[in-house]
Symmetry: C2
Subunit: 235 residues, 2 copies
């Protein structure tokens, strides 16, 4: 079994530690499938079939170069099992059903939904430059996109609640259209007809920015507001 | 750089999920150095130079067989750098100084102290059988050992505060005497003269008991008391 290999933590994003410390190439070396964001929260990344795409703040999709700097990402080598075929329903309803079929909230797993979507709402972010602003400021520069009747793939991860602050508890999904003209961090969705696949992972492997001085020097011991900020930012 | 490879979580111990799900052999396959505990909190484990030793509830030290079942462990492949030689002082003072020399509270690292100790106080635990009792009951069956003027090795890990509940925030050290007649989970210590080594790790890799039904079914979403219980149990 494989683990989800994570670069960086949600806490780093919350605490404005946004330097890229690995590259798209590093991510793809750890797996062919995943999600992430560029240095300075530069758009939303989705990795599918060994290629890394960015949905930038204009909603434009492009494959990123090997040296594209990354501050946060989750990646694994895909080996999905098809769980079910789903017709018309809300994305949240589907995910609730999928979680029930997996049968536990205590394991990491990856989810892949491929097919036709009635509606997908996504978000992307504008790259921030150093000195990096707080997450509140970054949130102001986020853009929301809506698309109706779109074919594509949603991919991402389920994280147990214990790992809050390391990752995002619950589901965290990104979207890429088959036409590669729409995508981003998934906010909402309505299914038309999709194949839902799941891959149970045997754990989480977190890689930290060991050589980054800002990371080393940051005061990351006050966890009291972390949960609140993450819930606000990821909802 | 290597990661600390962790089997299980502190949360599992807190929630009485004490089935062994890996073996001493599995631990040693992930590294030659580490700490842990057997299924049912069966004593304290210390891995040194590719061998796994158990300090049982009677204080007896023995090398464990390859199939010895393990519920929790941290292990890595040793590649330490000597940081300093320390003379007489309290263990806590030494660790504080070591942390200052490492220069960050935000990275995982391993610590190894080898030499002469004026005093070491350790703890071990009696193996619990299924149905497993709560950690309070297990704590009642813990035994504390004291030793003066002992040569040996303290080894363990520093974990950043974000990972509370996954691991033990701060330092978590086990001890083994050179004579292999004393050891356990370190509670207190006074240094006579030791060489202190550190190995910075680039992250944490957690492996969960994927196939364990009790783990799958446990309600692990109430994190409110986890921190308190861990602090009480590990102090």
């Amino acid at each position: 079994m494989v683990k989800v290999h994570q670069f960086g933590t949600m806490q780093m994003l919350v605490e404005s530690l946004l330097d890229g410390f690995v590259t798209a190439k590093d991510m793809l070396a750890a797996g062919n499938t995943g999600i992430g964001t560029g240095a300075g929260v530069d758009g939303e990344l989705i990795l599918l079939d060994g290629k890394a795409y960015q949905v930038n703040v204009d909603g434009k999709v492009q494959e990123v170069p090997a040296d594209f700097p990354v501050v946060f990402g989750d990646v694994h080598e895909a080996d999905y099992q098809v769980v079910d075929q789903y017709g018309k329903r809300d994305l949240k309803t589907l995910l609730k059903n999928l979680l029930a079929k997996v049968g536990t909230k205590n394991l990491f797993f990856s989810v892949k939904l491929s097919g036709n979507f009635q509606y997908v709402q996504t978000r992307s972010a504008k790259k921030s430059e150093k000195p990096y602003p707080g997450l509140g400021e970054i949130a102001k520069n986020q853009v929301v996109f809506d698309q109706k009747d779109v074919k594509g793939t949603m991919v991402g991860y389920y994280t147990p609640s214990l790992y809050e602050g390391v990752g995002v508890p619950g589901f965290h999904l990104h979207f890429l259209s088959d036409e590669k003209d729409f995508g981003g961090h998934v906010l909402e969705g309505k299914i038309e007809s999709v194949a839902a696949s799941v891959q149970i992972l045997d754990g989480l492997s977190v890689q930290l920015p060991v050589a980054n001085t800002d990371y080393q020097k940051a005061n990351l011991n006050d966890l009291s507001h972390l949960s609140k900020v993450i819930h606000a930012a990821e909802s």
